[in-house]
């Protein structure tokens, strides 16, 4: 704290925007998760014969920089039973794929699977999950 004016909270320089992102200190994605994801990404690039240079051909999971990329936030009103079902599905899929999955991915996969009459696992595989052990 000092005498005089503080920061300009409305400054639009990039540095300020980065500050903004950093101030969002809510309990969300753990850094560990991100790290292991990018490590896996490296693995895929090095070992998979089908890997191409073009990022657009990578599965969604490996194309994005964060779980929010390519998504818009939609408020959802869920019944308690549905929330429990989501949590159970996350746990089930994590053990099946033997890797961490984002709840955000699972929720959307459940919706897509319902619409496509397939399974959340199939949708998540299409997005790039489960490649580690396949």
């Amino acid at each position: 704290m000092k005498s005089g004016a503080g920061d300009d909270p409305f400054a639009t320089e990039g540095s300020e925007d980065e500050d903004e992102v950093e101030t969002d200190t809510g309990p969300a994605t753990t850094p560990g998760l991100d790290e292991s994801r990018s490590e896996r990404e490296e693995d895929i690039k090095q070992t998979s014969p089908t890997t191409t240079e073009s990022a657009s051909e990578l599965p969604y999971k490996y194309r994005r920089d964060s779980v929010k990329d390519g998504r818009t936030q939609q408020p959802m009103f869920l019944q308690d039973e549905t929330e429990s079902l989501i949590d159970e599905t996350v746990a089930e899929i994590e053990s099946q794929f033997d890797e961490s999955v984002y709840k955000t991915d699972v929720v959307e996969a459940m919706i897509v699977a319902g619409g496509e009459e397939t399974t959340p696992e199939a949708v998540l595989r299409r997005w790039g999950y489960g490649m580690k052990n396949s």
Binding site: M1, G4, F10, V67, E83, T104
Partner: protein, 283 residues
């Protein structure tokens, strides 16, 4: 040259030191200079700035849109429709639902967290103001939160980064300047911001030796005391009774001009001018 908007929060640890009175009068002083001024009242108590400027009639309408709804991303209408005008000042009035703001923000933060998203309850006011281009449309932004240290105060400080601190020169008032030094460094660290004190404004000053010593001590801590407001009980009480600024009160509700009241108006004008200079002058 592009000049940044003057933005500050009126802060005091203790209530009843003329915080809202000062905020309202500084807003009117700037509007009288031809500036576009927005004041945001975050105080859910009935006797808040919205009452003083007579724009508080929707505060208990629970069906009305309110700032609280915008802060948790559940707006019911346009931000601009929340704004009322009084004495040339745009006011975003307080709403009773502000009392529950901490709970609403906490719920929203938990919901976001469940979906793996970052969402910080203390930075939402700045988000709303930015989304609505407040910094491009106004020359002055004044936020008047309640004295209690909670999400309302934190959001206000995060959105303005600068403080104006009304100060009652008494033992209790002096302690509240210490309280400021306890609160702000923690906030700066948690929210990764730098906060500045534009000025400390002694109010209700009667000039005793004790009071003089206190001003000296504040200045020795490095704070600026742009003006000292003397005891003006009847003028400020009149403002609350007539629900108007001191400027309008003297113009419309006093049958004769009182020299000491004119002097107080001049000091308010001078304070507003000095505050404007903090953004106009190169830092």
């Amino acid at each position: 040259m592009w000049i940044a908007m003057l933005a500050f929060t009126t802060y005091s640890e203790a209530g009843g030191v003329g915080k809202s009175t000062l905020a309202a009068n500084l807003a009117v002083a700037d509007a009288r200079e031809g500036r576009d001024v927005l004041v945001i009242d975050l105080d859910p108590q009935e006797a808040s700035l919205s009452y003083l400027l007579d724009v508080d009639d929707d505060r208990d309408d629970s069906s009305a849109d309110s700032l609280v709804r915008h802060l948790v991303e559940r707006p019911r209408g346009e931000f601009d429709d929340l704004i009322r005008t009084s004495e040339g000042v745009d006011v975003l009035p307080a709403h009773n639902s502000l009392e529950m703001l901490a709970k609403h923000l906490q719920r929203r933060e938990e919901e976001a967290s469940d979906f793996g998203e970052n969402w910080n309850r203390n930075v939402q006011l700045l988000r709303v103001l930015r989304e609505n281009d407040v910094h491009e449309r106004y020359d002055t932004l004044i936020i008047d939160p309640p004295a209690t240290a909670d999400v309302k105060l934190y959001n206000a400080i995060h959105a303005t980064r600068s403080l104006v601190v009304p100060f009652e020169p008494s033992g209790k008032g002096f302690k509240s300047v210490d309280g400021l030094e306890d609160l702000v460094p923690g906030l700066e660290e948690n929210l990764d911001i730098n906060v500045g004190v534009l000025g400390i404004v002694p109010n209700n000053f009667s000039g005793t030796n004790d009071q003089q010593d206190m001003l000296g001590e504040i200045e020795s801590k490095g704070y600026d005391i742009p003006v000292v407001l003397n005891e003006r009980g009847s003028l400020f009480e009149g403002c609350w009774r007539q629900q108007c600024s001191a400027f309008r009160y003297v113009e419309e509700h006093r049958s004769r001009e009182r020299e000491y009241e004119r002097e107080t108006l001049e000091k308010l004008t001078e304070l507003a001018r000095e505050l404007r200079q903090t953004v106009e002058a190169p830092a």
